[in-house]
Symmetry: C2
Subunit: 401 residues, 2 copies
Amino acid sequence: MGSVASTLAKLPFEPMIDVYSIVPAGGSGTRLWPLSRDARPKFLLDLEGTGLSLLQSTYQRLLPLSGHEKVMIVTGRAHVDAVKAQLPGISDHNIVAEPSPKESMAAIGLAAMLFHERDPDAVIASFAADHVIATTDNVFASAVASAVAAARQSNGLVTIGIEPDEPSTAFGYIHLGKPEEIESDAETFARFGLTRISACQVQRFKEKPQVEEVKELLATGEYCWNAGMFVTRASVLLHLLQDTCPLLFSGLKKIAADWSSAHRQEVLASVWPHLPKISIDHAIAEPAATQGQMLVIKALLEWKDVGDYAALCEMAGPHLNPGDNQTPAKKVKVMGEAKLVFVQDGSGLFVTSSGRPIVALGIEDLVVVDTPDALLITLASRSQDIKSIVGVCKEAIPYLQ
Amino acid sequence: MGSVASTLAKLPFEPMIDVYSIVPAGGSGTRLWPLSRDARPKFLLDLEGTGLSLLQSTYQRLLPLSGHEKVMIVTGRAHVDAVKAQLPGISDHNIVAEPSPKESMAAIGLAAMLFHERDPDAVIASFAADHVIATTDNVFASAVASAVAAARQSNGLVTIGIEPDEPSTAFGYIHLGKPEEIESDAETFARFGLTRISACQVQRFKEKPQVEEVKELLATGEYCWNAGMFVTRASVLLHLLQDTCPLLFSGLKKIAADWSSAHRQEVLASVWPHLPKISIDHAIAEPAATQGQMLVIKALLEWKDVGDYAALCEMAGPHLNPGDNQTPAKKVKVMGEAKLVFVQDGSGLFVTSSGRPIVALGIEDLVVVDTPDALLITLASRSQDIKSIVGVCKEAIPYLQ
């Protein structure tokens, strides 16, 4: 974690954007079993091979924007210690521990209330803990700044949509509506090198489409990827929530009211178990879009949701078998030590987290995930389908949960 | 090894056949890496799942025929301790330790000389240490008795050929020549329930054929599998060897002369390294066949040379994933614990000698060999081809030899 520490040290005196960041860190990433487990969810893993977990990369990306005091992580109780270990120096009041998983709306709603109490005029932005975003340029920061300006101007919900660079069926899509020009102060324009900020109305959200449909959608030029990034005034979010999910709203209200009191755990214990489980998309984003209260800022981001092994396979390149400089395998991605992987007449993804050599012969797009206590073997094309057989395995061998 | 011990205890007072058995136990079984290693060759492995290694099964099969004092194992120096551990009670003078591998002729030739010194009229029979033969009936014993009778009568070389039950390309074939009736004593006929013993001349040996050719061979009815079993008078073998490989013969002669003296190791050290490397097939069997001095006894044996993972795959049957009684995988063979193997939309061979669960999705005829220090993944159809990539791996990581 020297990296996050050094980012903190290099922080400008002022954060770049007046925005409160919320990072819901939940979900175990079932499609990445046996790398991800209930006790070692995807966001705690280093899937990029950078030495940082997805959560650490996310935190490091948000620190310069919001500043140390305005980034809040919402995670399961079981993961609080691991999160603190990965993010040393994070303030206790910026980690919210959920007693049990309730999907994203409860997590983001509670964080929004806590930030709203700190600052009634707060603009909040929520970002998944386990997405990969390139930050070599300032495209991400500029997109967030634009979305914050749009949220202030519109008093609605704003999302950052990603320009698709391939017809993926792994993501949901956003259907763009009519454009809207966003005003902002000269300083923001100057800092992010913007000449104008263009938003669009969100016509509607479209769940993961089938492969035939995707190409039609993209041909219209009217669709971008839904990356699950939401920006809005905290007060607007809470109003929307009160309208669409009054039970969830009132439950969170009770919890937030006693958050800083001695009764926090008591109230959590009595209220949390009864909160409805619902995602932020279903709870407020889709209703807001239907009511014309939702804007999207399109961004040309290098963004990835590494949701399954096929996504990791896509990073494959030439691989020289150790000790053999003659005949490289064409398409191999190794997570772990490349010097442990020997491939002939084949390609694919090899995870060597058990430290044992892997010899693979004759299978294309093979996925081998070798961990100290379990082994998964499939094809990249089947990596969206592992849930069922992995479920049978976890049921039979509970320590593999 | 309770099993070999109990076979010994149940031995009839007299061995069934007056024959000296030789078991050359060499060769590491490269095509079964990483199960087999230089230090843990194929013959020491339990590939049948019976609780006995191939060597133990071979020894147990030969004890009732030859008796305890007339079975000799020839193996590499490095394996002597392992062989003794697997065959408790074997006499030291029935284990011959080769200083280095020299292929089968040196091993069998030396054993033949040692037996010939014990008994100038000895008939010897050599059997691979790593073949699988069913012994539920007395077909094997009866075939050996017939071959011994043929060897005494013909004063030539005799082999036991296996009636093929499929067009395999993994074995060599024997082209049968004209039939020859073999005499034997009434007691032998009675003991093995034989009414007559028929042998054939061996016209010629045919190396592993291509798949198109095999069907033509089998259609003629004139071919059987070469199982590498040779039966002959020791004196005949030594004469043949002297004719065809005089250097090997004279080298072995020097070694045998000093075998029981204080100079055994000294002579071995000076002579053994210079012995020619040659198989018994090339050294004497093929020349004998050419000269019309070779007979074959055809046997309807259940015989297998488990030479690669495809051979183990053939034993596949239905497999219920642990905890799921609904949807059996159709064609799965597990070596190790079946309760560690979870297969969906696939089939194949799974070796679980690391004790870790294996989840496999979407690959037919998959071969997964999971050992504590190395992992092999291939397809059954490619299991004859693993030598090259395994070689690269062993070169790079010497402890995997």
